[in-house]
Symmetry: C2
Subunit: 392 residues, 2 copies
């Protein structure tokens, strides 16, 4: 099997050049990439092996598995130490300044690579690579838009799955199945080794306010102490909200979209808060253009919540999330984070999920979440399931 | 919420003592545990935080999230640096020899913890902890046995899901839904950051021999280049085998079981190889008692395959797995590995999946996989779905 075609290489080259530009700024001679997310980014596929990207030119690719890859600059190895042998054979001198993915690879991997290359300096490049990934190529935006489209259509079908008397467990499973049948790849890639979720969460009533160990916008008790997140076995009861947040990984790029459903009507307060969520989102989408600091969006969302006197239930009650949005892409939590301390500026082709949500006591979570692309004049919304509260 | 009850503490204490015994042997004063799997092992639940386990006595537990935990020795922190402050307050001297999970935590986490505790020596304890985890407590065996039981019942229902003309994609999704409805927690914990799978694999015909980047027994092309494993969109056609290997995580402990189904009858060669797989498994189960080297089991499996002249299609064709079994527990790939080089001895209460499988050209994968507990005289099988090839 060919590692990548010539037409695919054109797209990959754009990404290599973006990384190489940053490498030059930091005098990094070579990036050694081995985590699945960055392999996907630089090769367009998953291998067991390494991308060895110099400051100029195309990368060398060192492969352990699968056994059947072909292509220019593809070298088979059994262990990382053999990369050094290949470099000697090809008369390539070992890099003096090497980038490793220091927030992602293990301590022992780092030490092993250090011994292989023995560079003068190693740079922890996790943040550099995440920053590069945060600004998408047009091809990536198209892939994410396709995921967003398929996810939106699947969301529209969700009301058909409801049967009176259902538990959140049953409802979640039918949604998972629907998404899978519509092409969802199932897997939910998340940055940070402690972060876990299955396909996403469906939170009914009070359960939406249950604190979780994970750093998602909302938590949920979960079905078992070994996975304390999401649905908890509660019945879908009259007057409760049902916040559905199931991942949109249909193309490797993960769109993020949540919708509020209800069993019967919700209280006036809940409906009001939901409208405030839509107001926040619209305001942020209009503000969000290149050059705007991320923190401005967060602070604006807080101001609007305060103006409506809803700050106490904004982004949680017992445990509050400290962000109102985040980048999306190959992982669900790409950069940038839309939070109070983040002075980073928005840039064109960043892709960001905004999720202003409220927890209303006695009702549950209300609000919305959509994925946006930062364009010249505003943020363009690419997820499009209906946004009003939908009665099941 | 109470972190753990007194009755739960009895079970956890057994695990703490097992770790502490090994710590004494290696003169480790404190283990700092932060990965989800080892938090589950030492606390029985997931937190965002740290277990600080000294060589003697009970651990201190430092929690960032969830915000509502209570209990003896529970301390809330916002960042790891605050652990040092708590230690000073409680007059506890910083450890001189500290264990960190060096194959699992990132390089930058390791460096950060080193600065906080400034020990004379840091030991990479991943292997120590995995070895402790490889020998289960009776409680853990019971939890795994419960998972194995629920998984076995779910396997028995699989034939009911089949409809003629189905694709492997549709069949997989119906199996996933069935498992979820029967209590499968969905999440599939795997040791090693590069290893990925959704709920497991369903491999039809030729696709079973497709090389994958992941180090599972079998691969499969997958539905998308971003997740090259498992079903590929093929139809369930006459004369093809259907190897189902969906994870048995019903209790946090993951049972491992595969079964061979078929559309119509398979060739004589395929049926023969399937019987050889059963023969290998029975022979290994009888051999496998405390004190037997893991490699003896592997070599015996190879001998039997060779005796039947099936070595070329044993554990793959284009790409062969180099093991015939592996430990199971909180992750699907616990220690020990049943492979050629592993001289480690079996011990009572190890829990091991054996998966002798063959790829038959033109047919697909045949064979079986079951989970066993190492007992005094043999390995006891705890997965019990019917083992013959089942025609759909």
């Amino acid at each position: 099997m060919l590692l990548y075609t010539q037409s695919r290489k054109k797209e990959l080259s754009i990404r290599w050049r973006k990384i190489q530009e940053k490498m030059k700024e930091e005098n990094i001679e070579v990036s050694l990439i081995s985590t699945n997310t960055n392999l996907l980014y630089t090769l367009g596929c998953i291998i067991s092996g390494y991308v060895y990207l110099p400051q100029e030119g195309d990368p060398l690719v060192f492969v352990k598995r699968p056994v059947d890859l072909e292509g220019e600059n593809v070298f088979y190895i059994r262990k990382v130490e053999q990369i050094a042998e290949v470099l000697v054979e090809k008369n390539i001198s070992s890099p003096r300044v090497l980038l490793l993915e220091g927030d992602e690879i293990s301590y022992s991997e780092w030490m092993r690579y250090e011994k292989v290359f023995f560079p003068r300096q190693i740079v922890n490049g996790t943040n550099l690579l995440r920053k590069v990934r945060s600004v998408k190529t047009d091809y990536e935006v198209a892939e994410l838009t396709e995921s967003a489209k398929l996810q939106s259509y699947a969301y529209k079908e969700i009301p058909l799955l409801y049967r009176p008397g259902m538990s959140d467990h049953e409802f979640t499973i039918e949604i998972e199945r629907l998404f899978r049948l519509r092409g969802n790849l199932g897997i939910f890639r998340i940055f940070g080794s402690s972060m876990e979720a299955f396909m996403g969460t469906v939170l009914v009533g009070e359960n939406a306010s249950e604190p979780s160990p994970y750093d998602f916008a909302l938590g949920g008790k979960g079905m078992h102490h070994s996975l304390p997140i999401g649905h908890s076995g509660a019945l879908l009861e009259q007057g409760k909200s049902v916040m559905v947040d199931i991942n949109g990984n249909f193309t490797g790029y993960i769109a993020d979209q949540s919708r509020t459903f209800s069993v019967g009507e919700l209280t006036e307060e809940a409906c009001y808060a939901h409208q405030v969520s839509l107001e926040i989102q619209q305001t942020l989408a209009e503000m969000g253009k290149p050059g705007v600091p991320c923190q401005d969006l967060y602070q604006k969302s807080l101001q609007i919540a305060e103006r409506h006197n809803l700050q106490d239930c904004f982004m949680g009650t017992k445990q509050k999330a400290k962000f109102v949005g985040h980048g999306v892409g190959l992982v669900i939590n790409e950069l940038p984070v839309i939070c109070d301390k983040n002075t980073e500026l928005l840039a064109e082709n960043m892709t960001i999920a905004l999720e202003p949500k409220f927890i209303i006591p006695g009702v549950g979570a209300v609000g919305t979440e959509n994925t946006f692309v930062v364009r010249e004049n505003r943020m363009e919304q690419i997820t499009f399931a209906p946004e009003e509260i939908i009665e099941l």
